[in-house]
Symmetry: D2
Subunit: 347 residues, 4 copies
């Protein structure tokens, strides 16, 4: 009954095995290992993007911040959802790495729409030098509320960005879960839709700590390399980042793991719905937000279930009041855990 | 014959085993894993510093830059050797993380002395707001030329810093090698000498990618935590940093590995001296800079030896001209490799 | 008929005379001129704040950005109205000077209320290191929509800030206009209400280019001085900043000028109301936003009136459609100009 | 006997008159005043550079920092003399505005030479991403030791910069004094020599507070405008910057004032030499560094002479020990003051 986060589960055995295998003999540091080139080739293949350049870092915040810094200037503003990870969960890392760019919040929902995005961009009238200048659009897919953009929706947002000549970043910390949820191909979800740079997550989906930053246009590759080094995110023993990513991509492990996570969440959601839980955001991927009575939360916590109460206070008075939970599944979620959770829920 | 760097060798099996062992079940992220607390306790013990606070990051540049940023303000200047890693090898990461502090180069040698340090600090007369303000002193031990400060020498530099009320940072990317070389205790080499914050290296000495930042005074602990998160250096799956560091500290593995590296370099140095090599910097730890004729370099490279030519051009004309090599040993250095290197060297 | 901005009018003759008078003989630079000390004394008197420290800079953006940077850390967020000058009109200067702090927009109106402010601060739950940390509250008075906070309203916002232990900055680019509009004393509008630092504007109100930054608590005085110098905002020939400010404070010139500006705007507003204009924001100080038919705008522009059309397009089709103007008066506004404007308006 | 600095004297009457003249009626703000365009035209003429773009700011540090930030990236290093104003006297403003670039000190003298510059640039081997990347060369003319580069010498340094593809900035806070001292034309001293951007000083030479930043290539004009605004250095009442600069350029006032300053310093230097003073740096412009016995310094200070003792302690024991003074003349230096100074000196 561990649903606190997709970073609380173990690393997949294939990734561990790859680390062990990479630990033979000598390898040049700082990205000059042979595996790094293989990983780049593999990602180019998977994304059908032979010109893409690929860099590995160890945290999602590094991937996002470095990518956004490369796509923007310090006097611009980045357009994103008010619940975007880059806005709410990175302690101003994007502001730091961009050198002081602003974030403009688009609409008031988990997902941006072409309308809210266009309004937000238009709202930042440039008025010469006075206001912030318009900068990149950053889309989070899967969103931080567990909802998913289809490839078509991403393309719709990119089209608006392109109207204004703005580049697009996709925060894909849960990219695999989004693909699995929508049956889109990697290419359809990214460059074919108009995405310029992708944070391609591995950590939340069975790796130990690796994310790829993929630029579909190689123009800013060297700048990114300098930013990564200056940001202290270039690993000397880089082969262990490469090995994780190589294993992750091998035989579609990344998609298989995401499917396990999504399936777990779907099963959980179905059971919750059966038990009368409500959902503000429709379950689509591996993170769901059911609301159900306080007394059921209390029973679950007593039974050892691990998850965050998203809204409401576990210790409040009215046992029937509905609190919202955040439940996250990763690849390692167990049928048993789900079953037991639902049992306790139903009382 | 692999002497390119101490980051080109494999991770020690004990560290790999600890990663595998940590990969069981669930663990809270972002430093809330149980192992993280154990690591802090263990470091406090080893350093005889029950009040110390300990944070883990994955790269040496992150450790140095975040520590220096925490000890300084953006309008100060950091005092360091002209060959310090923070000056020459971090692509302005210290300037980035400090928000634009300056580095003042002390003397013109690998090691600072109380005299050169005092002159440098005095030279930055404060003249009100006009010049940079005096900031932390940063000592690299082992130095980037393979030489070592004794604990007494560190204390001498700290005493000068304290005359001016300045904090002291120790870049200990090769801290274990420095201890082994000098027989100092961790406490003697750090807080007893006057050091305020330490970058305690693991990566170059058998780990996969982990460095501890140790503050001997807890006052700035929370600021450091915010800086680490904002710098994108807080790992979600933090247990794998903890596990590396725990294994590294277990049964003095860290000191044993450093001894293997230092012994390897000493053996190499002895053989080189026998063969007539010169040394601008006396070999003291695990990195040595012998100079010998170009033709011997050529023979070694043809035989497959891996190392950087530090000064001089491998393809120059005069076969007798002396070029300087940089040879680095890590724990995995083999007797055979050393013997073969010396054989080829002697021709 | 010049109503484009309060920075398009001339400098008041008393200020010009003071510049001429200051231009005698020698004076030490960088704030060591005798007049600088006099100005500080005078501001302490006016604000009944004998411990206040006072610094002069030349632009309002410098005053705001340097004050906010001094009150915050880079991992915090500043709370302000969505129409605040610091958010909309400073090209990310606050983000730059703070080293990457964020701005959190409070409510959706020109003025914050205790309710919207409390909700915004509470909404930035701190959740450890993950989100931005709560930072200073910045109040703009007069607001960018020409409305005014009473001293009581400022106190109400400060009380909320203090609940959370947050400092308060007042952007008083039009501070004199706010005082005149509310009959508050300088002390009531600032430190007695709970304000920690004030940008005290001179430029928009008859000076050439001078703003005072007033800290009611001297604790961060030295930090501010370093920030000012590092921001390239310390004037070598500082006496000319001092002279402007001294003249501005002499015999309540600052209040007299603000009264002229506010009175002009009131007269203009009355005439506009008579003529049927609407006002989204009630005219209270020296900047008003009347809406009236396009054809009247066209007539005014043809007659040479200078002002910005705030909302709507001068060249649109329907002559009866209402567009909103922004009309700003400064001290130099002429009765004649107002009369003529109203005549043309009325057709 | 006021020789403390060239910022302690009064503003020239022509500049004051221009300010008064500009104070008529209304003018659009933020650089849209008609005078701003005239100033740009006039500077293009004077520099024979019809494509140049010209921006006004109020402090020399702003001019230097913004120009360097525009010419560099944060991961580069700026090459300059160890006594450059940007290194010693700006409290890390260049580091702040560039976003954390480094300054590499060239040689150990007041003036760089092609040899020391080439050695410094070559010394920053790029080694991929590890070290700082090579960035702009910044030449200070007149130097902070009162010495002057000829146009030929500037061209020699630029040639070295161009070998490495690096842009060149000229810090001309005392540009007029350098021209007068060398009889070079503005074009010869700048773009014909290879200079890309110039800080063209007015403040030290009779203005109140104005410096022009001149880019001889317009490519980065817009970026500079954004940097200026974001740096809080765009004046709302810009006409008063324009007016100063227009007066300064009128009828060669700028050159006439510099000649007065240089002539004063030359007369002072001649008298000092007659009196046996020594000079480490040969007097060439308006700032000189004579050394003479402590007792003469004491007599001068008692007699009211104002200047800084550059080296040595006024209150030391031995009356015959030589201390070094820094004496600076501006346009307002009086023959009488010089004569009296020399009289007191000679005792």
């Amino acid at each position: 009954m561990f649903f606190a986060s997709d970073n609380t589960g173990p690393v997949h055995p294939d990734v561990m095995a790859a680390l062990a295998a990479a630990n033979e003999g000598y390898a040049m540091g700082y990205g000059a290992d042979a595996l790094a080139a293989e990983v780049q080739d593999r990602i180019r293949e998977i994304f059908e993007a032979p010109e893409a350049v690929v860099y590995l870092v160890a945290t999602g915040t590094a991937a996002n911040s470095l990518a956004l810094a490369t796509l923007s200037t310090p006097w611009q503003t980045v357009f994103c959802s008010p619940v975007a990870h880059i806005h709410e969960d990175e302690c101003n890392a994007p502001e730091f790495f961009t050198g002081g760019a602003k974030l403009t919040l688009v609409g008031d929902a988990d997902k941006m729409t072409p309308e809210t995005l266009r309004a937000a961009i238009a709202g930042e009238e440039t008025r010469g030098v006075h206001g912030p200048q318009r900068g990149p659009v950053s889309i989070t897919n899967v969103t931080e509320r567990g909802t998913v953009y289809t490839a078509g929706e991403v393309a719709g947002l990119c089209a608006v960005a392109k109207e204004f000549g703005l580049p697009v970043h996709l925060d894909g910390a849960r990219f695999a879960n989004a693909l699995v949820a929508t049956n889109a191909t990697p290419a359809e979800m990214t460059w074919r839709a108009g995405v310029d740079a992708l944070s391609f997550g591995g950590t939340k989906n069975g790796c130990m700590g690796v994310e790829a930053v993929v630029f579909f246009d190689a123009e800013k590759a060297w700048e990114f390399e300098l930013r990564r080094k200056r940001g202290a995110h270039l690993f000397s023993k880089h082969r262990y980042l490469s090995a994780q990513m190589a294993a992750y991509l091998q035989d579609d492990l990344w998609l298989r793991l995401a499917r396990m996570a999504n399936d777990g969440a779907a099963k959980l959601a179905d059971g919750l719905k059966d038990a009368g839980a409500g959902f503000e955001w429709e379950p689509q991927a591996n993170m769901i937000f059911p609301s159900f009575p306080r007394k059921r939360h209390q029973a679950l916590h007593e039974a050892g279930a691990k998850y965050y109460v998203w809204e409401g206070d576990l210790d409040g008075a009215d046992p029937e009041e509905r609190l919202t939970a955040r439940l996250v599944c990763d690849w390692s979620v167990s049928e048993d855990g789900i079953d037991r959770f639902l049992e306790v829920l139903k009382g």
